[in-house]
């Protein structure tokens, strides 16, 4: 599939889904909203971490920063300004942190980003307590559900199109080169430092904007709910299950997972997380490339089967 076809298909799907607020019930709409949120989060995560193999666990931090931009800004600014602002704040934070820690490889990077969410959460809790004298913030005057839905839909579609465009570009090749062999990429003239920071910030932009857009769904915002490590964990899990090197893999698995989450998490919260943990372990051990890695194998099998059938037929005709 060429880049153009993929973009056209994404946009077409986006236009069809845009009719949902008028066609679906409130419950189905909220389900779809969760799907779209995870689709956006996962695809933008895979854009950086899937390509470069820098395992970022900071999604929860970016998401929370975006949500807090909404909490602080919604009283004075319109929703349409707050959402990109949340994205920009997360991107700026990612660029700053990236400049400091992106020279660390492997586990160090993962662990540091894992801690970032906690760090930001504690910092915000502390500053809210000592300067604003509150624990959480109540959002009044929130936009209507269709507005939120369309915003998240737009962000998810934008994340997918951006990811497709990046993968086809020089910048995307540079990111993939860093993932394959960073020193070689550097020798071949890639400015690895700048590329990594830009990629990290770009993927953080979408996480932040989604956080800012979704924040109005909770009318009460407090650090413990918006810096929920579960959001970061779920994002990584979905991308790994789908296959972080592709676009379609994370997209498909985000739909399955958000449906599962909605139905199981409220009824069996602990058992559900136990199952998710188990699933992650089994997948990493036995299918490290994700579900998308099964596709080439399946295609090769079907191809081989077709060839054998053709051979049988031609053999039969001769005999």
């Amino acid at each position: 599939m060429t880049l153009r076809n993929a973009v056209v298909m994404t946009l077409a799907a986006g236009i069809v889904l845009a009719a949902a607020p008028w066609a679906l019930s409130a419950f189905a709409l909220s389900l779809l909203l969760t799907c779209l949120m995870y689709a956006g989060l996962t695809v933008s995560w895979a854009m950086f971490s899937g390509a470069t193999n820098y395992l970022s666990l900071a999604t929860a931090a970016f998401f929370g920063i975006g949500a807090y931009v909404t909490a602080w800004g919604l009283a004075t600014l319109p929703y349409a300004v707050v959402v990109p602002l949340g994205g920009l704040a997360a991107a700026a934070f990612a660029a700053l942190i990236g400049a400091a820690i992106l020279h660390l490889r492997g586990a160090y990077f993962a662990v540091l980003t894992f801690g970032l969410g906690e760090l930001v959460r504690h910092a915000i809790t502390y500053s809210e307590k000592s300067y604003a004298h509150t624990v959480g913030r109540v959002l009044t005057d929130v936009p209507e559900a269709p507005t939120v839905y369309l915003t998240v839909l737009f962000l998810a579609a934008a994340a997918i199109v951006t990811c497709l465009a990046v993968r086809a570009s020089r910048f995307g090749l540079a990111l993939a080169g860093i993932g394959a062999d960073e020193e070689r990429a550097q020798t071949l003239g890639v400015n690895t430092r700048r590329t990594k920071i830009a990629g990290f910030a770009l993927s953080a932009f979408f996480a932040g904007a989604l956080g800012a857009a979704m924040a109005v769904r909770w009318t009460y915002i407090e650090p413990n709910s918006v810096f929920n490590p579960f959001i970061g964990f779920q994002t990584v899990l979905i991308a790994m299950v789908g296959g972080a090197h592709t676009v379609i893999g994370p997209l498909a698995s985000s739909i399955v997972f958000s449906l599962l989450t909605e139905f199981l998490r409220l009824q069996f919260p602990y058992l559900f997380l136990i199952l998710l943990g188990l699933l992650l372990i089994v997948l990493v051990l036995y299918l490290p490339g994700g579900i998308a890695s099964l596709w080439p194998i399946a295609r090769a099998r079907i191809g081989a089967l077709g060839a054998r059938l053709a051979k049988l037929e031609s053999g039969g005709a001769r005999g």
Partner: protein, 289 residues
């Protein structure tokens, strides 16, 4: 005088626990490149086992300490066999071992933590043990805290001695320096890896058992200790046991002083601040030459 002694001592007591947790994690990472982010969950298991033994069977927690160690060691063997053996066998490079073991232990973290929630609920649990105050040189401590410090130091030093003076310890150190070279001289990975992994978890369990004598316990208690242990390892240098011991005490004291002079809610910020500074200034650890 008494006040300063109390501050330093409370830092050392927390630091002692940090050291025990970090040494276990450091062994796993240094020897097998397993970035075990679920390490703290096994600390939590150790704490719950001790709490159960004390409240249900009325066993003295100190007597129960070896039982916890053995139980966690066996759990460690099982976890290694089921999860990490396959990773180290099938991964093409060290970096991939690190990434995959991180993800697997992430899964383990969710599994163990939520299993604990399911089994024991989210309430804080605790029991009182040796909580009468003791006065030393004008400073007042509860007796259990001194016991905790003593056992933490003893466990760390014992492990240090095993690594330095015994043949097994020599094999572990050889394996850390050069895995291929160690295998060439006949050190068996298939025995050493599971054993060391188990010892790591046993140390985490001991730390948890010690903690349960002083603090209240909950299923979420392990996670902060994992993060702190990672910070301590960075301070002390990867693979260095003595470094982890000194780093643990150092971080404990820094936290105690920082919390006293600023505010207790800044504790995490302080640790991370130290972590990031050390990573930027001395990525190989404070004590690296």
């Amino acid at each position: 005088m008494g006040f300063w002694l109390e501050l330093v001592a409370s830092g050392l007591i927390t630091g002692g626990i940090y050291a025990v947790v970090a040494i276990g994690l450091n062994l796993q990472y240094g020897l097998m490149r397993i970035m075990n982010i679920s390490h703290g969950e096994f600390l939590m298991l150790g704490a719950y086992f001790t709490w159960l033994a004390h409240t249900v069977l009325k066993v003295n927690p100190l007597v129960f300490l070896p039982v916890v160690a053995v139980a966690l060691f066996l759990i460690g063997l099982g976890v290694y066999r089921l999860c990490f053996r396959r990773i180290s066998r099938t991964s093409p490079s060290v970096e991939i071992i690190e990434a995959r073991s991180l993800l697997v232990s992430f899964g383990l973290m969710f599994l163990v933590q939520n299993a604990a929630y399911l089994a024991w609920g989210a309430d804080l649990r605790g029991y009182s043990f040796l909580d009468e105050p003791v006065e030393i040189a004008g400073a007042r401590f509860t007796a259990n805290r001194l016991v905790v410090l003593g056992f933490a130091v003893a466990a760390s030093l014992a492990l240090l001695a095993v690594l330095r003076f015994t043949l097994v310890g020599k094999a572990v150190r050889a394996m850390m320096q050069s895995p291929t070279g160690a295998q060439l001289v006949g050190i068996d990975t298939a025995v050493l890896h599971p054993t060391v992994f188990g010892v790591g978890l046993a140390l985490a369990g001991v730390a948890g058992a010690l903690l349960s004598m002083v603090y209240e316990i909950s299923p979420a208690m392990g996670e902060p200790y994992t993060v702190t242990a990672l910070i301590v390892i960075t301070l002390g240098g990867l693979g260095s046991t003595l470094g982890a011991l000194l780093g643990g005490f150092l971080l404990g004291v820094v936290e105690a002083f920082g919390m006293h002079f600023t505010s207790p809610s800044l504790k995490m910020l302080l640790s991370y601040g130290v972590f990031i500074l050390v990573l930027l200034a001395r990525p190989k650890g404070l004590f690296a030459r």
